[in-house]
Subunit: 132 residues, 2 copies
């Protein structure tokens, strides 16, 4: 028996962004809002935003009914690190299109992880790690 998975997490690392678009909250919020609308995600409560001192990275955290969306920026490297975790099946948006239009990303790498798997229950009811 395989314990059911608990959804998909997309791990997105985008590079090549102009530093000024990563150093303020507004462009990041616009990017997250487009993703939330494209994926029809439901935000719960108020997202948390924080702009850090020089080099001025930004962090945003959204609590979703589907799990979470997080974003961190590294203006000094032109990098954005984005996570979207959906505990229910969900189609991926066009990460490349959204991140290049909203933040000027020129290279977007996407890793798609299934969460909660790799754990199997044997006939005696004991849980074991399975090969990944």
């Amino acid at each position: 028996l395989i314990v059911p998975d608990s959804g998909t997490e997309w791990i997105i690392d985008a590079a090549g962004c102009p530093p000024e678009r990563l150093a303020e909250i507004a462009p990041l919020r616009a990017c997250c809002e487009e993703l939330i609308e494209a994926m029809r995600l439901q935000v719960i409560g108020q997202p948390q935003w924080r702009r850090f001192p020089e080099p001025g990275g930004v962090t945003g955290l959204y609590l979703l009914s589907e799990s979470h969306l997080t974003v961190h920026t590294f203006p000094e490297y032109g990098l954005v690190a984005l996570n979207v975790y959906c505990c229910r099946p969900h189609e991926a948006p066009d990460w490349d299109a959204i991140l290049s239009r909203q933040l000027g990303a020129t290279a977007v790498t996407v890793r798609e992880l299934t969460r909660g798997r790799g754990v199997v229950r044997d006939e005696a009811g004991n849980l074991h790690e399975a090969a990944r």
Copy 2:
């Protein structure tokens, strides 16, 4: 030239937890607090917590000066999905010991991802995805 990485994210999926320990905020908060202390992470602002209606999963989000810690529970499957993202180099705690003691996990799978890599800049200054 390789664009510098932007830290490490640990993706932890733990199974075998008694459902009652995953259906209330208190045991999850205690688990997160132990991890934060063990890793000497710095919490910014107030963590967000939410308990969902039946089957009663819990979500917690911490904004850290090092990036984020998130947790989601699936009491119906005995599963916990935890993320810790540290944008600076950091040693991993003993995930097994902490998750088994705090939440009764019997199987803990850990994936350690380097964020922001896999992107290289060529001599003309253009960014390309590298093999992972």
